[in-house]
Amino acid sequence: MKSAVIVFPGSNCDRDVAVALEKFQIKNKMVWHDEVNLPKCDLVVLPGGFSYGDYLRTGCIASKSKIIESIVEHGKKGGLILGICNGFQILIETGLLPGVLLRNKKLKFLSRNVFLKVVNTNNKFCSNYKKKDIIKLPIAHNEGNYFASTDLIKKLENENLVAFKYCDKDGKIENDSNPNGSSNNIAGILNEKKNILGMMPHPERLIEPILSGDDGSILFTSLLKS
């Protein structure tokens, strides 16, 4: 399996995610945002960070980069796209995923581990979470408050396009376990074809037990199967 990590000015999780991909024998190439063509790859990763210093809106300027056109093409052809944190924000600004990410409800930057329920394991990113669907991953964001119209939220729920929800350690999805105010505790969503995943938590940061957990690695091993 081959991947391409897109690097924007201000990306800061690009190398972390590259290390994670390579750990699972995914052959990775770093691609600068100013390139026009993607290298041959199965998976495109938009990494976390603060592309363009979050100017105008988070992910907004990055979503107009030269490379984006070929990423949209890649997605249309069914290629896998994973957006983590700022990458999720970029996917939303690009229009590849619906909705919007607002400022966290309490207006604070959040950097801590959260529990997540894997709501949809029937996709190429999450298939291995079938055995373990309550996981712990870190979040680190200021704008992660997922918001969309009531109709869109209903559609996401009915069509099973929500991948992750914030929950407590027993998997209960409640207001108390919602760190940022997201509608229906949503932490990650899929597109209709389920080949594009955007998520606020960072799977690449928990891939070694020595770093307090490896729940993130299950996402990468799921990808290997696909």
Binding site: Y52, G53, Y55, L56, I61, K64, K66
Partner: protein
């Protein structure tokens, strides 16, 4: 009374966000964009019928809170 206040950086102050927005617009094909300055917009409702009083209050809140007058200009518009 409803007023709107726009706060922008003074002409000589560097506006990196405005510059990036301008460059992005040019990259998107809008070649005729010459300049972009980014600012802040406030919609404020004051319980005050006298326009002169409202004007004085608006000036005050701009100077005290909304704008840093060393680097920013502000304009006040009365809506009704």
């Amino acid at each position: 009374m409803k007023i709107s206040i726009t706060v922008t950086l003074k002409e000589d102050v560097l506006d990196p966000q405005g510059k990036v927005v301008k460059q992005t617009l040019i990259n998107m094909g809008y070649q005729n964009i010459e300049n972009v300055r980014q600012g802040k917009h406030f919609e404020i409702e004051i319980n005050e019928k006298d326009k002169k009083r409202a004007e004085i209050i608006s000036q005050e809140i701009c100077k005290k809170l909304l704008a840093n007058t060393i680097i920013e200009n502000y304009t006040i518009n009365f809506k009704e």
